[in-house]
Symmetry: C2
Subunit: 388 residues, 2 copies
């Protein structure tokens, strides 16, 4: 089984891209990744592509061949849809193809356009990731679902809005130097606490924004990297996917995310590491509470301790395990179908030393990404390692 190297990464800026077509966004990310890798696009074996709501945003399904064409690729292309984990699942498939020897050179990533919908319509569009029959018809939206999870967490473990605010403040500060971030501006705990309520206990500054953007990574086999003299110091050494019941009401407990725990355990076993080997993480903070839950599933924090990690400093840039140095979904932005690829791209930049926040993880060798779908009915974890 070949080691899989990340040979190149590409991102569009995250934010509002107006009328730019999705194909243009993905073409930009893919071109950047291919240039970064220094590979020949005509040699690409396959495209693994994530997109969530293209049917609603652009009335466009069957996007995989379209994106291959836009990116100048001439290869089979597949679209994966796993709600907000779409690109994570796509990249996992690309990694597995390289490992299995069915591909040597893969482009993987994702794209989402969301700002072409007004905020209400976008919220409704996001709700298609929940159970239409038993959640959405009853009025559930994702802010309210994560609010339920936050309340259940507070009830079980303790925690409060100020704990959540520290997560938002950290991620905004991290986004400040990130040229791809939607919000390159700091916020204070007070501003977060004073922001308008969305669904108690979640307020506006607990939520990620509506974002357009694309991400792409180039994956190659160890042999391909060597043969072609590629500079690709970061490898993906572990992958894991987990699943859970789609509707919150069908789960035994909602103050934890077993799908992510399953994904993490699988990925750690795959990479042959323990959780305490993780030096740095990019996790799926669609809402602040989601970061707390992610830390516990990843084993970065013990049960009930994820909520205070930012406040106590362990996940701060100078803490034991910096989390979301990119700015996270909260401040970097969350173009749903692109996010899993953005996490891999940002973590790769962090580990190889060319991220504006790399200074905080100069000695890091091992990082993880955590990408979740819906209320974590699906989750994908990747382990990345760099030779130091």
């Amino acid at each position: 089984m070949s080691t899989v190297r990340v040979a190149g990464v590409g991102l569009t800026p995250f934010g509002d891209h107006g009328d730019r077509a999705g194909r243009d966004l993905f073409a930009e990310a893919a071109a950047t990744a291919i240039d970064d890798a220094g590979v020949d696009r005509r040699a690409v074996d396959r495209l693994d592509y994530g997109n969530f709501m293209g049917v609603l945003a652009e009335q466009q399904a069957h996007q995989a061949p379209l994106m291959a064409e836009a990116a100048g690729l001439n290869c089979p292309a597949t679209r994966y849809e796993e709600a907000c984990a779409s690109a994570g699942v796509a990249i996992k498939a690309g990694v597995e193809a390289v490992r299995a020897g069915t591909a040597d050179l893969v482009v993987a990533g994702g794209m989402e356009r969301m700002n072409c919908l007004d905020t209400g319509t976008a919220t409704d569009a996001l709700a298609i990731a929940a159970d239409e029959l038993y959640e959405v018809r009853a009025g559930m939206t994702f802010p309210s679902a994560y609010a339920l999870m936050a309340r259940a967490y507070f009830e079980r473990f303790g925690g409060n809005r100020e704990d959540l605010a520290h997560i938002a403040v950290k991620n905004h500060a991290n986004a400040l130097p990130n040229e791809f971030a939607q919000y390159q501006r700091e916020i204070t705990v007070e501003e977060a606490l004073d922001s308008p309520p969305v669904a108690e206990p979640l307020h506006l500054y607990d939520a990620c924004p509506i974002t357009d953007g694309a991400s792409a990574v180039v994956l190659v086999s160890d042999e391909y990297a060597t043969t072609h003299g590629l500079d690709a110091p970061v490898s993906i050494t572990g992958v894991g996917q987990g699943g859970d019941r789609l509707a919150l009401q069908d789960r035994d407990r909602i103050a934890e995310t077993p799908a992510a725990t399953q994904a993490a355990e699988t990925a750690y076993a795959d990479a042959d590491i323990a959780a305490d080997a993780v030096d740095v993480a990019e996790v799926h903070d669609c809402f602040t509470i989601a970061e707390a839950l992610a830390l516990e599933s990843l084993g970065i924090a013990a049960a009930g301790e994820g909520i205070t990690a930012a406040r106590e400093g362990t996940t701060m840039p100078d803490g034991e395990t910096p989390v979301n140095l990119s700015g996270g979904l909260k401040a970097k932005g969350h173009p749903v179908g692109a996010t899993g690829g953005s996490q891999i791209a940002e973590l790769t930049r962090l580990l190889r030393g060319d991220h504006p926040n790399s200074e905080h993880v100069a000695d890091a060798t091992t990082g993880v990404t955590h990408n979740a779908g819906g209320t974590v009915a699906s989750a994908v974890v990747h382990v990345l390692e760099v030779a130091q």
Copy 2:
């Protein structure tokens, strides 16, 4: 690399299922496949699931964990969307996972609900598989796109409406004994010729119907089949996927389908067979012309000869290579996201001798399925072989 066995297959009847939820349809197909295989559903390692237009039909994305739950599975689940090739792509991923040793027991298949939309809305919904910017806005629908392909074919190679009618008549006759078929009734060449025009040269009887339905197969490794004493005589020995530009206008020629040719060549090389080893085929006849194109891509007919194969008898049940003994998309029906799984299920039944049309292929050892997306911008071919 393990040989991949088809341990069980399951189908719902194809047709109009009224208000039945998609999850119920897939649960029925999956339960049938699991029972047919005689495996423990709690042991299933992963679900690979295809669906195309669930966002429009049921306002439901993120269907993979939902379908896993409905089917009583407790495993990671992934949705693939490749227009009408969604289930073909899903099953290919399942096969590759078993081969790679990351799974021993996989459920794969797909589901589509379409009759909940009126015919006009369904036609618009199907159009999301075409290029929204450059085809759909200009008024293109799939009947008109395939009509363009038929015209180009006639111009290049010859052929006429009567040739097409023979394809429809054959597939309706094949569907007659198939308990899962939407149309268990014969038609005549005259009826096909006299049916109302849809987009010249295609008339109503050149087109597949609007269909609800689900399909599932259980895939296991050779070792799993042996260890668990499963009766699984049919193996998937070759897989291939091809891609092309999404829009017809961007292709050099439209009287052929190079994505399917690429998929077939890859699958044949993978199975280490030549095209002339194929004894029986299930191909993607969404329109009659599509069957002719498929035969040529598969090497069952030479270029320009696919159009007359039914009329001359070579693809008839008693011909050299029976094609679409299930009834095909034309008469069995085409629940878009389920079709690729239906083809594998039907071919498995044909090869293992328990299909109502198995008598026509009693000596067959090798079959292929051909599943196409859009105007064949994507295509998946599987080679199935049975020990005789």
